[in-house]
């Protein structure tokens, strides 16, 4: 039961992500290249979710036979956490820059009118 739910979950998430990216292209909020990148990424994720045995084939092609799916997904999870952390730090830095700019502009306007 759980494998089926996880497959449905992966397909649903992929659907949402791709449709949001598509809306982004339509509204010119993101470029076509970015849309293609995320579409391919999510299609790959859905393929792996629907046919996890493919991972074994890929690992076997590298000559390794004793690496389990758990190891692969564990590494993927660590990598994703790292990615989320980097994105958070970057966003936080950008937000701080934005705050400084708005504060500086507001004070400059105010001083001019005082």
């Amino acid at each position: 039961m759980i494998p089926i739910i996880s497959k449905i979950f992966a397909v649903l998430l992929a659907g949402i992500a791709i449709s949001k990216s598509y809306v982004g292209v339509r509204t010119r909020a993101e470029s076509f290249q970015v849309f293609i990148f995320w579409t391919l990424t999510w299609v790959a994720i859905v393929i792996v979710a629907l046919f996890p045995a493919l991972v074994d084939l890929v690992i076997a092609s590298f000559g390794e036979k004793r690496v389990g799916l758990g190891t692969v997904f564990g590494m993927a999870l660590v990598f994703l956490y790292f990615l989320v952390y980097r994105i958070y730090m970057r966003l936080d830095h950008m937000e701080q820059q934005l705050v400084k700019i708005v504060q500086e502009l507001s004070l400059r306007d105010w001083k001019r009118t005082e």
Partner: protein, 237 residues
């Protein structure tokens, strides 16, 4: 120096009100701010944090100096902008107070006198020293946030989330604040600890109306605040 020495000088007090869509409440708050404390003149500085209502116009009508953020940055960023403006005005004492009517502007005098009498660098208007009338959920949430503030900044005070404080000019210049949101209250407590500032908590009565309860921090804000504080701790690590 005793109080009378301060009260008889030509020192100035700037009252900073960070405000976001407070058209319904800010007029009454501004009307309640005393024009002077002793011989010290008091000026109100409203930081309109990208409001979409008439907050700025109402504030101007009440004689406040109004600084407008082009977009909504958060209560913390608005407070910092107000502190910077107070420095430009060369204020000797800076008071921050909520614009939603939760604090009684008449208590400004109490905080300023306590600051000058101490002398202290920071006086915190604490709602938890006399919590009668505070909704139980607020009381519990404030205790939890006191604990989180202690974990992150290593300093325990009776009301870490109070937005009603008085600062000396020196304290404002000493603190390095970077929070944009509500977590600035905890960051200030951390700065008091790190910069070794003299502080005191004095009891104040918070006014809980349906409006101020709706405008104040709610559960999701509290979760965001805790996440913000924890991320801040990670950044410092």
């Amino acid at each position: 120096m005793v109080r009378s020495d301060f009260m008889s000088t030509n020192k100035t007090v700037a009252v900073v009100l960070p405000a976001y869509n407070e058209a319904k409440a800010i007029g009454k708050v501004l009307a309640g701010i005393p024009a002077s404390i002793g011989l010290m003149s008091v000026s109100a500085v409203v930081v309109d944090d990208g409001s979409t209502d008439h907050t700025a116009e109402i504030a101007r009508r009440h004689g406040a100096k109004v600084i407008r953020h082009l977009t909504n940055l958060g209560a913390g960023a608005a407070t910092v902008t107000g502190m910077q403006a107070a420095k430009v005005l060369d204020a000797d004492v800076i008071v921050t107070i909520d614009a939603d009517g939760q604090h009684n502007p008449a208590d400004i005098q109490l905080l300023v006198e306590c600051l000058l009498d101490g002398p202290y660098d920071v006086v915190i208007g604490s709602r938890l020293l006399d919590p009668a009338g505070m909704p139980a959920s607020r009381f519990a949430a404030n205790l939890l946030l006191n604990a989180v503030t202690y974990l992150v900044h290593g300093k325990i005070v009776s009301d870490s989330q109070s937005g009603f404080k008085a600062y000396s000019r020196g304290a404002i210049e000493a603190m390095a604040l970077s929070s944009s949101g509500y977590e600035i209250c905890s960051e200030i407590i951390g700065e008091i600890y790190r910069k070794n500032l003299r502080y005191k908590s004095v009891p104040i009565k918070a006014v809980y109306t349906d409006y101020s309860k709706a405008k104040g921090q709610h559960f999701l804000n509290g979760i965001n605040l805790i996440i913000g504080l924890l991320m801040r701790m990670l950044r410092r690590a």
